[in-house]
Symmetry: C2
Subunit: 194 residues, 2 copies
């Protein structure tokens, strides 16, 4: 079966926007999404990149641009009051959720918590609520985030993305073709069809 590997960080608003579309993009080509959380800070550091919002005029523009995309897609969006946020624990939950094949559902639920409901996903109580909401056992999942295998897997996804040439998020990979940005989903779809 065809796959698109979707590399994202929950703290990235463009990753949220792309996440709202990626299942449909893949489905239209009979492909499946593989959800791959990555630590964007590590990607930036290793790639020698920086947060786009470091450029003041770009930060102002991005707020407007994000709203335009949300309107285009017809999805809710509210810029989090907690930016930049450390979503490490939440992303380890996503990795842990793979065991129950709920990583996609959990990714979307966590994206909504951050980029729609302005919730604090660094707070274990919030995480528990979101985990339970998608049918995961909060205790078991949170316990798994402290295991070396889950930590290692999140690191492996991050290193894997870097190895493929990623320098930001979201990054989509189809075969050996890499695409960067919510605004390249049309190229991803073309690649899946090609």
């Amino acid at each position: 079966m065809k796959h698109v590997d979707f590399y994202f960080d929950l703290s990235s608003p463009y990753s949220y926007l792309a996440a709202t579309q990626i299942d449909a993009v893949a489905a239209r080509s009979g492909a499946q999404v593989r959800w791959r959380p990555v630590v964007l800070g590590a990607v930036f550091k290793t790639a020698g990149n920086d947060m786009p919002a470091r450029v003041p005029a770009k930060a102002v523009y991005m707020l407007k641009d994000l709203e335009r995309w949300a309107e285009e897609y017809g999805v809710p969006f509210r810029f989090t009051s907690r930016f930049p946020l450390n979503a490490m624990k939440a992303m380890r939950c996503i990795v842990a959720a793979e065991e129950k094949s709920l990583e996609g559902a959990l990714s979307l639920a966590l994206f909504r918590a951050v980029w729609v409901d302005d919730r604090d996903v660094t707070d274990p109580a919030v995480l528990r609520e979101v985990l339970a909401g998608v049918g995961l056992d909060p205790d078991a999942t949170l316990a798994a985030t402290d295991t070396q295998s889950v930590k290692d897997r999140l690191r492996a996804y991050t290193d894997g993305a870097l190895g493929l040439g990623a320098f930001g998020a979201p990054t989509m990979v189809v075969g050996d073709a890499l695409f960067w940005g919510n605004d390249r989903l049309h190229f991803v779809e073309k690649a899946l069809r090609g």
Copy 2:
């Protein structure tokens, strides 16, 4: 009449790609393009931005991405062997061409010289040829590039773009809405229709 102000630097490959489309985008909404060359180096410096190609993995990706867009648009594209290039003189020619209302035609001809034919637009002989090709008097136009009014106008466009919030190129402005990037032409078209 509705307008879209198209701020560009000849040295920017994404500006070239957008330039190949902007007339059609405007025409579909009964709008007109105002061609506004800007000195991208000055925009980057004042905005605190940097060339995207400074990030090695991004530079690699961009070459592929530019090819994808050229294919999508069905336009020829070859990355110039002279990058980064100083297109100051050529952009002053565009400003000087306003007197004959040939700034659009000259912009497109110069973009082709740089991003299709790999010509050296810092060479006055090349400039003369391109100028003559669009029906401009090479001597008169080159002489005008040394006048203060032409120099000031190029600077005014650059400062104007910065004043509107620009931080890169291409930048498109419709009314008070600013759009950045070849990949936002669909939003430009929406704004022109709205």
